[in-house]
């Protein structure tokens, strides 16, 4: 009994964690694809290679699984700001770096983002989670651009629209590739997109 907390940490039988993770992973995959309703507990159990009853031994209800999954989407702002910490030799370099950071953030969380997108109205909380990532990204970029303006590296003007354009571009590219499965060169050649979009935006900001 006195080692019960150890069981939670490392798995008494050595598989406890593994099973739980397999269930979560299967649920994440299915919910992203088929939506919350489409991901039935039977299907989840099959994909996880686990008996259906086992699911309910690990999670009280099905919603509990969803809630567990959604936890991964928080703490975005911190990571975005972290990507902008170093000194940059020029604005374009900063933009490219930021684009990469943001895009990778999206890709890393793609399943959960899809779940949020799809589950919008059945679980209203998740909508905010979904929008929070791009909007935070706009916010952080906005602040950084304003900073550059104050330092005289950019002419003063409203940085919101350019920030929105930038974030939107990579959001759409992300959606097109990972939700819709679109296979076109503009979207697949990510390096070129980082580079080219940053260039256009920079020149746009300078004179608009």
């Amino acid at each position: 009994m006195d080692h019960s907390f150890l069981d939670q940490a490392s798995g008494g039988r050595g598989e406890e964690q593994e099973t739980r993770e397999r269930i979560l992973s299967a649920a994440r995959q299915l919910m992203a694809q088929k939506g919350y309703k489409g991901a039935t507990t039977r299907k989840i159990s099959e994909l996880a290679g686990v008996n259906e009853v086992t699911i309910f031994r690990h999670f009280k209800t099905k919603v509990a699984i969803l809630e567990e999954l959604l936890k991964d989407i928080l703490d975005v702002r911190e990571q975005l700001e972290k990507g902008l910490e170093g000194e940059f030799t020029n604005v374009k370099e900063m933009l490219i770096t930021y684009a990469k950071t943001y895009y990778h953030l999206l890709v890393e969380r793609k399943e959960i983002l899809m779940i949020c997108l799809v589950e919008a109205d059945n679980h209203p909380e998740v909508v905010k989670l979904f929008s929070s990532l791009p909007m935070t990204a706009v916010d952080v970029l906005c602040a950084k651009l304003a900073e550059f303006q104050e330092q005289g590296h950019l002419p003063k003007s409203d940085p919101c629209t350019p920030a929105l354009m930038f974030i939107s571009t990579f959001f759409y590219a992300f959606m097109a590739k990972y939700r819709v499965g679109l296979d076109v060169s503009i979207i697949n050649d990510e390096e070129k997109l980082y580079e080219h979009a940053s260039e256009i935006l920079l020149e746009g900001i300078k004179r608009a």
Copy 2:
């Protein structure tokens, strides 16, 4: 009997069309909100103010309703090109006009777009329908920009990335407002967004 085709056109009892339309409208609304699965035939019938049986008298199956709804999303290219027919005094004016045309096209079809988005994997055909609208928009704008380049109004360079950026911006604004219900000034003040985004893009194209 000889007037049976009239019944289809105007409704023998004068309500035939109306009922069918009410069902379609309720289904469109619910499926956009709750997804295909979430929009049960019972709920549809309630919202339409119609008995559930009536639904199955008008549509053989539930999928038939979905298929009927999806018909509204075609013929987009034509409309986009139509919006670019007139002569423009300058490029910026063209961009603003195009942005308006595209955004309104999205808003007009918002329910169906949401259905496509949400129903992605249960009905794989619809994904293509969903992506077809923005990608067609990119395509048409690309062609127009190339045209301006050939006429010497713009320096020659790859117009794909700027077109993608432009379309992405309004796609995201659309999603944020109508899917997520985001209420922020950058997105709500559409006129300013048309204007400002066009300006930035134009300057970006000119020098990048």
